[in-house]
C-alpha cells in the first residue's frame, strides 16, 4: 500500500494558487525530503496530507483514506512544525504524558531519555522555551510518537548546529529500529541529504522533481569552459542554470544525460566537469520562472542608471 497518494491536488489561498495539480505517491517506510523555496507550497501540502487543511480539488489519500477530518489518519500521523500549540497549563513532562495517552506506538522511555539528553527541565512550560529549545522539544514529541506517518515541517528552526546533528542522528537511529514513513521539509538539505531516500522538489505549487536522493545527486552536471566550446556540447540538452564568468568562460549546469563518449570528448576539449551538489541543484531548479533572474540582476540594473 502507498503511504501517500496525491493526484491533481489543488489548493487556493486568498485567490492565489497555493498548489497546482500536484501528483505523486510515496511508498511506505521511506524518509522523504520535501524541498522548495519559501512560499512554494510545502507547508500547505504537508498540512493537507496531515488532514489539517482541506484540499480544493483533486485526490489525496493517506493509507488509502482521505485525510481531512479523519480520525484514522490523525491516529496514524503526527505533524510537527515550529508553531506547535500545546496547552500553556501543562508542563513539558505533562505534554509528553499526554502524547503517551494519545499515540499507540508512543515510546515513553525514548521520550524521557531524549528529554534528559537535551537538558529539559520537567517543570518548564512550552511557551517559556526559546525557539531552538521549542523545536528540540517538538522533535522529541515527533520521534517518540512513532507514528506510521511522521511529518516534520522545518523541524530544525532555531536549533544550533550541534543539536541539528543530534537530531539527524536520532532520527536515523530510530528509523532504522522502527522503519516508518517520514516526511521532512527543510532548508538544510546539504546537512541531511544522506538521510533521505527520496526527494520531492516543489516549485510554485507544482512538483518539479520526485526521485531518489542518489539520482538527484547525479541529476546535474557542472561544465566550466570557454563559452563557445561549452555551447557546442549543449545542443539538445536541458540547461538548468548558466552563469557567465571572466575571460569568455561560463559555468553551465545541465541535466546529466551524457554518454561516456560525450563525456570523454568534453574532457578532451578542456571542459572542466564537476558534480552539482543536491542543494545547489535544488536552488537552480526552483529559480523563479518569470524573468526575475538572479539577485545579481537587481544590482546590474541599479548600476545601469
Amino acid at each position: 500500500m502507498k503511504a501517500i497518494k496525491c493526484k491533481d491536488l489543488n489548493k487556493r489561498y486568498y485567490r492565489m494558487n497555493a498548489l497546482n495539480d500536484l501528483s505523486f505517491s510515496i511508498e511506505e517506510n521511506k524518509i522523504v525530503g520535501v524541498i522548495g523555496r519559501n512560499g512554494a507550497g510545502k507547508t500547505t501540502m504537508l498540512k493537507i496530507i496531515a488532514g489539517l487543511l482541506k484540499e480544493k480539488s483533486g485526490i489525496v489519500e493517506v493509507y488509502g483514506r482521505k485525510p481531512f477530518n479523519n480520525l484514522f489518519v490523525s491516529a496514524n500521523t503526527i505533524y510537527i512544525d515550529d508553531a506547535m500549540n500545546f496547552p500553556t497549563a501543562l508542563t513539558l513532562k505533562e505534554i509528553l504524558e499526554e502524547g503517551k495517552r494519545f499515540y499507540h506506538h508512543w515510546d515513553h522511555d525514548l521520550a524521557l531519555s531524549l528529554f534528559d539528553y537535551f537538558g529539559f527541565d520537567s517543570r518548564q512550560h512550552h511557551n517559556e522555551l526559546s525557539k531552538g529549545k521549542e523545536s528540540t522539544f517538538n522533535m522529541i514529541v515527533g520521534l517518540a510518537s512513532r507514528s506510521p506517518l511522521t511529518i516534520f515541517d522545518e523541524p530544525t528552526t532555531g536549533m544550533d548546529a550541534a543539536v541539528r546533528k543530534d537530531f539527524y542522528r536520532a532520527l536515523l537511529k530510530d528509523y532504522l529500529a522502527h522503519p516508518r514513513t517520514i516526511l521532512l521539509s527543510t532548508h538544510h538539505l546539504e546537512e541531511m541529504e544522506d538521510l533521505l531516500e527520496e526527494v520531492l522538489v516543489i516549485h510554485e505549487g507544482s512538483l518539479r522533481l520526485h526521485m531518489s536522493m542518489d539520482d538527484l545527486k547525479e541529476y546535474g552536471l557542472g561544465l566550466t569552459g570557454k563559452r563557445d566550446v561549452v555551447d557546442s556540447f549543449l545542443i539538445e540538452k536541458e540547461i538548468l542554470w548558466k552563469k557567465e564568468q571572466a575571460f569568455d568562460t561560463c559555468y553551465v549546469v545541465v541535466k546529466n544525460d551524457f554518454t561516456d563518449h560525450e563525456y570523454r570528448r568534453m574532457q578532451e576539449a578542456g571542459i572542466q566537469i564537476s558534480p552539482v551538489k543536491a542543494n545547489d541543484l535544488c536552488i537552480y531548479l526552483t529559480e523563479p520562472q518569470h524573468g526575475k533572474g538572479s539577485v545579481d540582476d537587481v544590482f546590474d540594473r541599479s548600476t545601469d542608471v
Partner: protein
C-alpha cells in the same frame, strides 16, 4: 573510512569501495556475512536504501552473493574480482587522466612515461 559527502563519488559507490577494501584487507573472509544495509546505515549515518544500493552493486559484480533471508555473503573469488576490476577500470581511468593532464601541460609521451618510471623507482626504494 570517513565519507566524502562533497565529492564527485556517490555515497553508495564509496560504501561499495569501502567493503571491497575491507575484503582485500581480509576483514571480511570468503563466505562470511558482510554488514547489512542497516548496520552500514548506522555506521555511516546514511539512509539504508543508499547502503543497499552499494551492496547490490557488489552483488551484481559477483563480489557478494545473496542468501535468501540471511543477507549478503562474500564470494569465494571476491578478492580476485576486486583486484581485476581495480586493475582494469580504476587504474586505467587514472592513467587516462594522467595522459590527458600531461597533454594539457604539453608533456611529451616520453616525458610522461619517465615521470611514471621515476615515481615507480621512488616507491621501490
Amino acid at each position: 573510512m570517513i565519507l566524502d559527502t562533497d565529492g564527485l563519488k556517490p555515497i553508495y559507490i564509496q560504501i561499495a569501495e569501502w567493503l571491497e577494501s575491507e575484503i582485500l584487507r581480509g576483514n571480511f573472509q570468503a563466505d562470511e556475512k558482510v554488514y547489512s544495509q542497516y548496520k552500514l546505515a548506522d555506521l555511516y549515518n546514511i539512509n539504508p536504501a543508499t547502503a543497499a544500493k552499494g551492496l547490490t552493486k557488489l552483488a551484481e559484480e559477483g563480489i557478494l552473493y545473496d542468501k535468501r533471508g540471511l543477507g549478503k555473503f562474500v564470494s569465494t573469488n571476491a578478492k580476485q574480482i576486486i583486484m581485476d576490476k581495480r586493475k582494469n577500470q580504476t587504474l586505467r581511468n587514472l592513467v587516462e587522466d594522467l595522459v590527458m593532464e600531461a597533454g594539457r601541460l604539453e608533456l611529451s609521451k616520453d616525458e610522461t612515461i619517465k615521470l611514471v618510471r621515476d615515481a615507480w623507482k621512488g616507491d621501490q626504494e
